[in-house]
């Protein structure tokens, strides 16, 4: 039985950055494996918000990745990017473009995953750096859309239970 190690901490260190932090009760090589293996990413990346339709990871510098999911509401969202720097089990730098906006690649963020282990536990941080504040703000708000979707689904459930 997995015990939650707490919630994600999201902070906004500067106008163009997002910093995501979370501790895991597992060694860093396993966190890295779960982060970079398609069969495993499929098990966690969509959260409870839909099913993953594409999960491609070409894990080498200059290699591409692409994730897509169909949200429960029926619309598909896709993300892609390129790996820039790879230190196995410790650090992964990649770009990330949200395919839902025009000229996605020009607005891509640079994401740095860092894993540090102490006493068998791993601190994970993801620093997301956008070229502009507008891009950063849209990124934060994309989570809000997903949340809205959850709310709509709940509403639907409630509504049908009233029939």
């Amino acid at each position: 039985m997995a015990v939650s190690s707490g919630t994600a901490q999201v902070t906004l260190p500067t106008d163009t950055q997002i910093l995501i932090t979370r501790e895991f009760d597992a060694p860093k090589h396993l966190v890295y494996k779960a982060w970079t293996t398609p069969e495993l990413v499929r098990q966690w990346w969509t959260a409870k918000r839909g099913s993953m339709t594409v999960c491609e990871i070409d894990l080498r510098v200059g290699g591409a990745w692409r994730y897509a999911m169909v949200a429960d509401g029926g619309f598909e969202v896709g993300f892609h990017g390129e790996y820039r720097e790879i230190v196995p089990n410790e650090r992964l730098v990649s770009t990330e473009a949200y395919e839902g906006i025009p000229d996605a690649d020009a607005h891509a963020s640079l994401n740095t995953l860092t894993l540090t282990e102490a006493d068998g536990r791993t601190m994970l941080t993801v620093l997301v750096e956008h070229p502009t504040k507008e891009g950063r703000d849209m990124h934060v708000e994309s989570g809000m859309e997903a949340g809205m979707q959850d709310a709509m689904d709940l509403l639907e459930e409630v509504a049908s239970s009233l029939r």
């Binding site: 997995a2 015990v3 895991f24 918000r49 949340g147």
Partner: protein, 83 residues
């Protein structure tokens, strides 16, 4: 003020400058107590930012809760493999 200087390791003029900006936007309240100025965080002013980030944070929390389960399975597999 002295507490903040000590905790942040930043020079006093810089702490003053930051506190002034925070006071101007209503993120902190200040009151005079003798020779001291006491600052208090104004949670209400920070709530819009919290609300804005909350959904995004929720998405990652859900992802990480599932990642916990993936990791628990991986650890089990690894333990089985080493026996």
């Amino acid at each position: 003020m002295n507490d903040l200087v000590a905790a942040l390791g930043v020079a006093q003029p810089q702490v003053s400058k930051h506190l002034r900006v925070l006071r101007e936007v209503g993120a902190v309240d200040v009151r005079e107590a003798g020779r001291q100025r006491l600052y208090r965080l104004n949670g209400r002013a920070l709530k819009p930012i919290h609300d804005w980030v909350k959904e995004y944070e929720g998405l990652w929390s859900e992802r990480f809760d599932r990642l916990d389960e993936v990791l628990a399975n991986l650890e089990e597999e690894e333990d089985d493999g080493s026996e």
